[in-house]
């Protein structure tokens, strides 16, 4: 049985022209591998501005024209090429966008949830469905006629979620669903996303908020400097003992409840020849400087670190 979504060794880079005619390819995502199953929530956790959203854009086929994509994305076992993306997006694969800016400022929200229709009948059908979903999220009929600027933060969140659900998708991609929300709305959002899982939908959650990832996801992929360095089950993130990568450990230790232990150092901006965490790593090996570790399976945990490769080879 194939997984709902499989991303294998995906790399995304952009061609830029720096200082006149010098072409420069900047890599944003390198060698990303992840999978999502039905009824599962997988979070991609990384710092803001690190290019996580591009994964979502890549799955939906809405990357800008100057981007280059390598690797493979499969949906239910089928290779997801541009043609299939265009067929499935908005239908089986839906995006839950970041903010109210993703709604047309001059269109009533109910019409936006309904979306493009071929004829009157389809519109009527979708209108019923939209009403049903709005009701489910406690948006009464007066909300139908509001414009995006009239929505409160929490309402906007629910409307954005509803836009994704009118088409009854199998896979949802939530791109930073909680920025700038108050604690209550964040809690509701987490609740809503978890409910999607109960309905058997697969959710790819892209976020920079550790707490949201911990409370929502089944598995978490740690995204560091364009690489996925570890994919681990959410239970293991409760304690830094149970995560493998030194960066993941540092991340968990830096949480307030774990003692606020900060680790010095920044993510490299330019491409490095070795392990991206080499500069800051406390357990680095000699070969880490010049060689890139692969993402490997270590007792069911996906990890990108030579230390565990050694262990694997040793046993």
């Amino acid at each position: 049985m194939s997984k709902l979504l499989e991303v294998n060794n995906l790399s995304i880079s952009f061609t830029q022209y720096v200082q006149g005619l010098n072409r420069h390819d900047s890599k944003v995502i390198t060698d990303l591998t992840i999978d999502v199953d039905e009824g599962e929530i997988v979070a991609i956790l990384g710092s803001s501005g690190s290019g996580k959203s591009l994964l979502a854009h890549s799955i939906l086929g809405i990357l800008p024209y100057n981007s280059h994509v390598a690797g493979e994305i499969r949906y239910e076992g089928q290779v997801l090429d541009q043609e299939l993306k265009e067929k499935l997006r908005g239908d089986e694969i839906c995006l839950i966008p970041q903010s109210v800016n993703f709604l047309d400022p001059l269109m009533k929200v109910s019409e936006q949830a309904i979306g493009e229709c071929k004829d009157e009948n389809e519109h009527k059908e979708k209108k019923l469905r939209q009403r049903e979903i709005f009701d489910k999220y406690g948006l009464d009929e007066s909300v139908d006629d509001l414009y995006p600027f009239e929505l409160s933060g929490g309402m906007a969140r629910k409307v954005l979620l509803s836009t994704a659900l009118v088409g009854n998708p199998k896979l949802l991609i939530a791109d930073e669903p909680t920025p700038g929300l108050d604690a209550k709305s964040v809690k509701e959002t987490i609740e809503d996303i978890r409910n999607l899982k109960e309905d058997g939908k697969g959710v790819l959650l892209i976020t920079h908020e550790i707490d949201v990832a911990l409370k929502t996801a089944d598995r978490i992929a740690i995204f560091y400097s364009g690489y996925v360095i570890e994919i681990n089950n959410v239970e293991n993130f409760k304690n830094s003992e149970n995560v493998l990568h030194p960066y993941s450990k540092a991340l968990i230790d830096s949480l307030p409840r774990n003692g606020f232990n900060l680790t010095e150092g920044v993510q490299p901006l330019d491409e490095v020849s070795g392990c991206p965490y080499y500069e800051n790593c406390p357990i680095r090996l000699d070969k880490c400087e010049k060689n890139k570790p692969e993402l490997i399976d270590h007792k069911g945990i996906m990890i990108r670190c030579f230390n565990f490769e050694e262990v694997n080879n040793g046993t």
Binding site: H57, L60, I62, E86, K87, L88, R89, G90, D91, C94, L95, P97, Q98, S99, N101, F102, L103, D104, P105, L106, M107, G115, E116, Y147, F149, E150, T163, G167
Partner: protein, 331 residues
Amino acid sequence: MIKINNKKLAKFLGFKAIRLLILLIVIAAISFIMIQLSPIDPVKAYLGQRIVSQEQLAIVGEYWGTNLSLGERVFGWLSTLASGSMGFSLIFRVPVTEVIMQKFTASLTLMVVSWLISAVVGFGLGVLAGAKEGTWIDKAIKTYCYILQSTPTFWIGLVLLMVFSVYLGWFPIGLSVPIGQLSDTVTFWQWLYRLILPAITLSIVGIASLTMFTRDKLINVKKSDYFLFAQARGESFWGIIKNHGIRNILLPAITIQFMSFNELFGGTILVEQVFAYPGIGQATVAAGLRSDVPLLLGIVIISTIFVFVGNLIADMVYQYVDPRLRGEDDE
């Protein structure tokens, strides 16, 4: 549906009326003072080529109030204006209001037709260029606009006349009625036939600026998050352009088009001159060349009102159609 808040509308129009009044007083006074300070002598202009003695000249001058101070003259002009009279035209020998009414109606059809042409064509080309940004269609439209934008209206008029009237012979050279026919006996088709070339000329410059504006706005919409989201939802490209693109650029485009009334008026003067179309533009030139001070001042005031109305409509469109501005006071 557009809900109109009557109280708000009355307040809005009231404020605008006061502003128009102040504007008119200032414009009337300034243009009058400027003419007084210019070398134009209304007495000489009135007498034309007739030979008169010094005494007679003095009598006419006194009758016309040339011996009064500038302040008294301005006050006199404004108070006459307030009573609804703009004086007598020296060229046409009828009240200025009558001349303006007649000429302005003739020009209005020309202006309205070309304004509509430039609105439809300009907006259409802008949407096409914006949607197809970077392709040869976009480049062709852009080049066309740059050429139009940097070409004077009267020259375009002359070229069109040469090509379509002289070489091809499709359209008449000028005038709004066939030579030797009274304006009352002109049929609708004759009139329309003669309107085509001047109207096209006048619309051409408006097309260029509106197209570039629309194109730019649409490109901005294409870069917006909601455009991206619509794509992510599987809407078709032209569907998005129609549902989200045009929805978001129509308002600013309409506004720009109403704000262009001043260019329209300026263009009319040149176009009417080239095509010998007897409208307000020709009257303006004649009044200027033959020192018809009352008519010139009357036209200044009428054109002020005309441009003001354009801006007023643009303001109202925004206030009452854009939900983001409409909502502010309703809550």
